[in-house]
Structure formats: structure tokens, C-alpha cells
Amino acid sequence: MNSILLILPMISVLIGALVLMFMSMYDTFKIRHFITVSVIALVIAVIFSMGNFGDLYSESLFPVILGDRIVFDSYANLFSILLLVGTIFIILVGESYANKKTYLKGEFYSIMLFSLFGMLLLAHANELITAYIAFEIASFSVYIMVGFNSEDGRRVEAMFKYLVLGSFIGVFFLLGTALIYGATGTTNLTEIAEFMQKSQENIALLYIGLTMILFTFLFKIAAFPFQSWVLDVYRGSPVLITAYMASVFKIAIFALFLRLYIQEFSMIHELWEPIFETLTLLTLLIGTWMALNQTVIKSMLAASSIVHTGYLILAFLALGEGGAGSYAIIFYLIAYLLSAIGAFGLVSHIIAQTKVKITYDDFKGLAHERPYLAAMMTIFLLSLAGIPSTIGFMGKFYVFTEAISAGYTLLATLAILATMISIYYYFKLIAMMYFYSSDKEIPLQTFDDKRISTYAIGALGLLTIWGGIGSIVVFFVPIPSIDEILVVTQTAIASLFI
């Protein structure tokens, strides 16, 4: 294997970020130039990643310089592709938003690519200090992007809340790393796993260290009891960044912690199982409660992302030895990525064209004015609610089946109860779009529908449906099978143990 090929995706994202940064010094470039350049950089990165897609490999590049800190394996490759594709979609879907909002300047895209670079690094990190650095590169870029929304007074609150809390929780990660180093003498994940298999000494210190790291994880994915920042931060930031945080950033965090969890499984599972059980329950409960009480769509989607986090923690519980159930997690992340970017992107598209806050009421009569947008929103909402024929159903089906299979029938039942309630707040929006006539003064007629963002939304809608129908091979519909994702996932997990 050509080893330089492995590092090229990250390099091209970094170069793209630098180019964008220099471009932003000149006024001659318009927002569409920035979008073009960033998409080109990302597409090049995807093409480089696709070179090894589906192969089973695990290599440490330049061991003299990098040591084992960064590992290039099929697992990192899979997550890189998810992150890159997710970011491409966010940039494309947000095209009309970025064109309308004057505060989104060129450097926004530069920062976004820097944060993406951090996330890619996070997916490749096999050592805690490297992971921390990658983590902070990603986080700090996101803190800045949260503050871009100069039209909303809440942005200062959002940014500072996120910055202060995020930095505070980052310290726990460092403390945990220090404790683990104290216990085992190493910060390399593979070596920690080997240590734990061999000896039981300093086990208490190790457990405390791991739990500290768990806090960071829970904060970033907005699980209970670290969920309260979500509403303010998601509300105050530009919609694009909300989508970015809810989908892409979450995937990056999961990339690191899934690696950690699967490698040190036998030890951690015993310790974290009761914690995760409680957290699943409480996260679902709080998320559902928060989602029910929202009137602004952006906040509803933000709050419901907490519920989806609850499902993901349930899937974490059901992982099993050797990561047998990780298919469910990865598939659910993909499902959520598609539907959340779609839903948030659509909201951003509407915000870009109008001046409204986008509450439930603002969606009244959308189906009559803009049938295409309403149909797409319906697809994304159905997918979020887990209705069959969308990818969201498949994701939920895998998660719940794995959970029941691992013996968590009661928790799976509770999760399904949360799903039942979620039907209410998702279907309420569909009802608003289809069953009411428009009663407001929004100049929907001036909507510009021939835009990149509308096509990107359409592509996401098609993917959502394709993922849900998969490969029902009826004689007239030959579709590639979604089982392919499974094979790739298994390869990815297998590469962790090489």
C-alpha cells in the first residue's frame, strides 16, 4: 500500500483551510468562491480516502516521527469518509444561507476546514494526548464558529457558555489522561489495553481516569447530566453550525470513544455498564421532555438530538465483546447524519429566504407554497421519528435489536416509548406544513428555488429513502444493497485488532 496516500486526505483538508485563509484576506472573492474551494478540497480528500475504502489494514505512518500516536486503519478511514461527506453536505446545503447572511465571511470556511482537520485527527488518534490536541483543535474552531451569528444577541451567551463549559470539561480529559498515565505508564490506547489484560495493579486509579474521560465524552455528545448547554448553544449559533455540531462533530467524538471502548472493552464495560444504563434512561427522559416544550423548530431539533444521543448510548451498552454490535452505532450515526443535516439544512434554507424565527407556526401552509420543500422536510422528519421506508427506521431497528439481543429488553422498551412520544413532536410539524393554510406575511413567492442548496437537500432526501428501502430486489428495482455498509463496518472494527 502506498503509505503517503493514507495521509493525503488530512493534508488536503489542511491545505484547503490554509488556501481559504489566504483568500479571505482579499475582498475580491465572493462567498461562492469560498464554497467552491472548500468543496474541491473536501472532494479531493474523499477521493484519496476512497482509495483504501473497504480494505483491511492498520499502519502507523512515519513511526520515527509520529510513533504509534496516529494510526491509519480501516476504522479511521471509514470515519474520515463520514466526516468529509457530512461536511460537504453541510456546506452545500447551507449555500443559500451563506449567501444571504452577510456575517458568514470567507474565513468561516477556513475555520470549518480547520475544525474538520481536528476531527480527522481525532478519528486517527490512538493516543490520549494526541486525541486531546485533536479534540481541542476541533472544539476551538467550533467555539469561534458559534460566535459568528452577529444577528442574534444570544450568540455571546451561546459562545461563552460553550467555551467556558467546553474548556472546563476538557480539563477533565487531561486529568483523566494524567491518572491513566500514572496507573499504566503509557497513554497509548493499545498499550493500555495490554496493560489491563496483564495486571490488576492501580486499577482504581485507572478507573477514575477513564471515568474522567467519560465526562468529556458525555458533555460533547450532550448526554445527561451534561445536556443543558445544548439548547442555548444550538439556538444562538448559525443554523449551519448547529447542524455541524449535532451531526459531524458528534460522529468525530464517537470515532474516538468507540475506539477507546472497543479496545479496552473487557475492563470498561463492567465499570461503565450501570452508568450507561442510568444515563440512557435519564437522557431519553430529559431529551423527550425538552423536545416536547419547544416552539422554535431549531430548538426542537436540538432537543431531539439529545433523545438520539440516548439511543446511541443504548447502542453503546449493547456493543459486546470485540465490538460485535458496533454496526448498529455506525449505522445509526449515518442515519442521523443524513436526516439531521437535511432537517437543519432545510431550516437554514428557509431562514435564508425569510426573516422569521422558524417556529412551528411559521411552517403553516408550507406544503401549498413550496411542495418540494415540505415533502423533503417530511422525509427528514419521518426518518428522525424512525418510520419505515426511511433510513432512520433501519438505524433504530439495528440499535434496538442489538440492545434486546444483549439483554437490555427493558431499556429498549423505554427507548421505544421515547420514540412513541417523538412521533408527536415530529408529526406536529408535518401537520403544520400540510394541514393548515398559510396565515402570515412571509414573501414565499420570492423564494429562489434553483439553488445548490435545494439540490443538495434533494440528494439528502434520496439518500434517506434509499437507506430505508435498501435492497428490496423487486424485479423492476435493482438497488445496491445497504449490506455493503455492514461489511465495511466489520472490516473497520477488525482493523482495530491488527
Partner: protein, 496 residues
């Protein structure tokens, strides 16, 4: 290729719907193409019906891999039970298109086509995940039809019925996943096919009972059985005629069908042990809904309760553990679907023309619209169970079945059929025959049926009499399936 005829029947409406969605905007064109589609499907189903061999069990099977990892297959096939209902659906939908005047927009007809794909798919699936897939999907078009074209407090009732039924379905989903994992634990491979689920032997009696209840709740909500019936009055009052027609004539029957198809083979012991419980719920529902129907002034509401009452009766027949009861239940499914479907369509026309749907405001219809009255009466008599109509044969069979199950229950059910007769005929007399009592007896603006509508209804009227007078021809098609259930699936000694 002949095996794929089922896929064709399932997916043709959906494909036509998608093509129509992007090509044309004219509601009339859409409506005509939709009608032609249903006629084509009727032809295909008829071909299937004639080439079906009653003795051969499940036929026309297609079994393709869908999701390999979890052993989920696109597994469809047809046996005596599902064929009969498939025929019924095909027979009901195309004539109904001729009588639905409310469909003035493109969206209405596209949703009607999509709902047809959903119900046929659910009917023919032999894989539980595939079944769930269609079972949930068929709800969405109904949701949209009700919300967009309903009357009154339509949004509340739409959300209510949606949340209600999805809640039931999700309970069923848990049970399906639990059975799947149990199969995996026992045999080491994943499978969600019904034949696989029947082989599971590791489940404890308690676990089976819980799973049975989860399934039964989902189906009881759809049917609806007491005490899961509270959605019907709002829904049937506020929903447009098309949705009411689909819900009462077809979807409710799918609930009963699902009990026969899934609950009996997968949980035979629970089915026979708890049959007395369900028979009692059925007979209680028959009486309770019957009395509720007597009190109604709104015709749509009255028929909502009447329909629930008959469906409770059907359920009692399904749980009677013998061939009489079960054949009668299946026969009544058909008879009731035709009669109730027709009545709801006629009431739709009545409501549209006169603007009233309350019994006290109506009257004097008979002299203005004689053909309407005659056809209305025929449906009504079939619903009441007058000898010579299809209702009579089927109700008689169920009463026999219940009598064999327990003589006392047989007597009770025999007597309570009178309730149905009383509220139906009383309504008929007040709303249709008698002169109006309000507005000084001024005549309502009622027109008689048009030729097109009569043509649509004639097959049903003929069928009511043919089914009443020559039941053997129809029963022969599904009787072997019924006997197979009774003798092979139920534990020995359970049949009485």
C-alpha cells in the same frame, strides 16, 4: 415471472403514484389513471384467484434477500386467507373510486394509490419486518388524507389516531425484535420470517404471554377492540369518506387477518389458553358498541360504532377455536367490508348533497332518491344479517362456532345480533323513509345516484346475494387453510 405477480400487485400503485406525482398536475387525469390502475390490479388478482390451488398452502412465493446480516427477506406469498382478502381489497377499491366525489386534488388520489400499496404489502408479507414496514407505511397516506381533506376538528383527530396506532405498532416492533433475537440465540442465525418464529422453543410461557399481548395490542387498536376503541368516533366523524372507507372496510380487517396470520401460528398455546378471554371481549364489544350505536344521532358515528361492534364479533369468531367460527369470521370480514364500505360511501354522498349527517335532520330521502334507497337498504340488510344476504351466512357460522366453543356464549351472541338489527333499521326508518320532522318537512336537496355510481355499486350488490345464496364457492377457496390452522397448528386437545 408468475411468481412476481404479487410484487407487481403490491408495487404498481406506488409506482404509478410516483410517476403521477412528477408528471401531471391535473386532478382529473390523475384520478382516471388511478382508476385504470386499480382495474388492472383487479384483473391481476382475478387471474391469481382463478389459478390458485386451495389445497397447496402458501403459493406464488417470492423470497429475496433484503438485509442479509439480519436475515430479513423480501418474502411474500399468498394462501387461502390472504387471497380472499386480497380479492376483497381489489374488488372494493376500484368501484369506490367511482363514488368518491371529494377527491378534487391530485394529492388525494396519489395518497389513495399509496395506501393500496401499503395494505396489499402488509397482507402478503411473510416476513415480520417486511410486514411491519408496510403496516407502518400504510398509515402515512391515511394521515395525510385525513389531515388535508377532513372536516371539523380534523387535526386533533388525525394526530390522535396516528399517535394511537403508531404506539401500538411500536409495541409490536419490540415483540418482533425480541422474537428475532430469541431465534438468533437458539439457532445462531438471524431470521424474521414467520415460519422461523414458529420454531422458537426457548421462550418461557410468561415471555410468550407478554409478546402475545404486545402483538394483540397493536392489532386491537387497528380493529378496534374494547378498550382500544376511543379513536374511532373522532376519526370516523371528521375524516373524509375515502379515509373512513379504507379504515373501516380494509384496515380494520387487516387487524383481524394479522391475528390469524401471526398470533395463532407463533403462539398457539397462548391463543388457545386465552381464547375465552378474547371471545368474551368480543361479545362484550358486540353488545357495548351496539348499545353505543343505538344512542347516536350522527350517522357516521353510528356506523363507526356499528362497524366496531361487528369487528368485535369477528374477533370472537376468530378465537372460537373451531372451523365454524373461523370460517365464519373470515366470511364476515368480506361481507362486512362490502356492506360497510358501501354504506360509508353512500353516506358520503348523502352528506355531500344534503349537508346533513345527523338522523334528526334527515328524512324523506326515499321518495327523492329511490335507487339510492334500494341500494342503501341492501347494504343495510346484509349488515343486519338478513337471510339471503352474505351477512346472514357468516353470522350464522360464527354463532355456530361460538356455540360449540361454549353454549352460553353462543346463545348470548345469537340474541345480541338483534341489537344490530334494531339500531340499523331504526336509523333507516327515521333518516331515509320517514318525512322530515325539522324545517316543517321541507325536502332536502338530494339527487339520486348517477349511472357511474350505480355501475360501481352493482358488483357489490350482486356479490352480497351470491355470497348469501352460494357460500360454498367462496368458502372452498379458504376452507383448507382454515382446517390446516385448526388441525395442524393448534396444540392437540385445544380444539373443542
Amino acid at each position: 415471472m408468475s411468481a412476481d405477480i404479487l410484487s407487481f400487485i403490491i408495487f404498481l400503485p406506488a409506482i404509478v403514484a410516483f410517476i403521477l406525482m412528477i408528471t401531471t398536475k391535473d386532478a382529473n387525469t390523475v384520478r382516471n389513471i388511478a382508476f385504470v390502475t386499480t382495474i388492472i390490479i383487479f384483473g391481476l388478482v382475478l387471474k391469481l384467484y382463478l389459478s390458485f390451488d386451495p389445497e397447496a398452502g402458501i403459493q406464488f412465493v417470492t423470497n429475496n434477500v433484503w438485509i442479509e446480516q439480519y436475515g430479513i427477506n423480501y418474502y411474500i406469498g399468498v394462501d387461502g386467507f390472504s387471497l380472499t382478502i386480497l380479492m376483497l381489497i381489489a374488488l372494493l377499491i376500484s368501484p369506490a373510486y367511482l363514488l368518491l366525489w371529494e377527491g378534487r386534488t391530485k394529492g388525494y388520489w396519489i395518497n389513495m394509490l399509496l395506501v393500496q400499496t401499503g395494505i396489499t404489502g402488509a397482507l402478503l408479507s411473510l416476513d415480520m419486518v417486511l410486514f411491519y414496514f408496510f403496516w407502518e407505511t400504510m398509515l402515512l397516506p391515511i394521515f395525510l388524507i385525513m389531515g388535508m381533506f377532513g372536516t371539523g376538528n380534523k387535526i386533533f383527530s388525525t394526530i390522535k389516531v396516528t399517535v394511537y396506532t403508531i404506539a401500538g405498532s411500536l409495541l409490536m416492533l419490540i415483540a418482533i425484535m425480541y422474537l428475532g433475537t430469541a431465534y438468533y440465540a437458539e439457532f445462531g442465525t438471524w431470521s424474521f420470517a414467520i415460519d422461523s418464529f414458529t420454531q422458537i422453543s426457548t421462550l418461557s410461557y410468561d415471555a410468550k404471554l407478554w409478546l402475545f399481548l404486545a402483538f394483540a395490542t397493536a392489532f386491537a387498536i387497528k380493529i378496534p377492540l374494547f378498550p382500544f376503541h376511543t379513536w374511532i368516533t373522532d376519526t370516523y366523524t371528521n375524516a373524509p369518506t375515502g379515509a373512513v372507507f379504507i379504515l373501516s372496510a380494509i384496515m380494520a380487517k387487516l387487524g383481524v387477518y394479522a391475528i390469524v396470520r401471526f398470533l395463532i401460528p407463533i403462539f398457539p398455546e397462548i391463543y388457545s389458553d386465552f381464547s375465552i378471554f378474547f371471545v368474551c371481549i368480543g361479545i362484550f364489544g358486540l353488545i357495548y358498541f351496539g348499545i353505543a350505536a343505538l344512542m347516536q344521532n350522527d350517522i357516521k358515528r353510528m356506523f363507526a360504532y356499528a362497524s366496531a361492534s361487528h369487528l368485535s364479533f369477528i374477533t370472537a369468531g376468530v378465537f372460537s377455536l373451531n372451523a365454524y367460527g373461523m370460517s365464519g369470521a373470515l366470511y364476515l370480514i368480506i361481507a362486512h367490508a362490502i356492506a360497510t364500505g358501501g354504506l360509508f360511501l353512500l353516506i358520503g354522498i348523502l352528506h355531500r348533497e344534503t349537508g346533513f349527517k345527523t338522523i334528526s335532520n334527515l328524512g324523506g330521502i326515499a321518495k327523492q332518491a329511490p335507487i339510492f334507497t334500494v341500494i342503501f337498504a341492501i347494504f343495510l340488510f346484509s349488515n343486519v344479517g338478513l337471510p339471503g344476504t352474505s351477512g346472514f351466512t357468516s353470522e350464522l357460522l360464527i354463532i355456530f362456532g361460538l356455540y360449540e366453543f361454549h353454549p352460553v356464549l353462543g346463545y348470548i351472541s345469537g340474541l345480541t345480533v338483534l341489537i344490530a338489527a334494531s339500531f340499523m333499521l331504526w336509523m333507516f326508518q327515521r333518516a331515509i323513509l320517514q318525512d322530515r320532522e325539522t324545517d316543517n318537512g321541507k325536502d332536502l336537496p338530494m339527487r339520486d345516484l348517477k349511472i357511474k355510481e350505480i355501475l360501481g355499486l352493482i358488483p357489490w350488490v350482486v356479490l352480497i346475494f351470491v355470497m348469501g345464496l352460494y357460500p360454498d364457492y367462496f368458502i372452498d377457496k379458504f376452507e383448507p387453510s382454515v382446517l390446516h390452522y385448526i388441525s395442524d397448528i393448534l396444540p392437540s386437545g385445544a380444539t373443542k
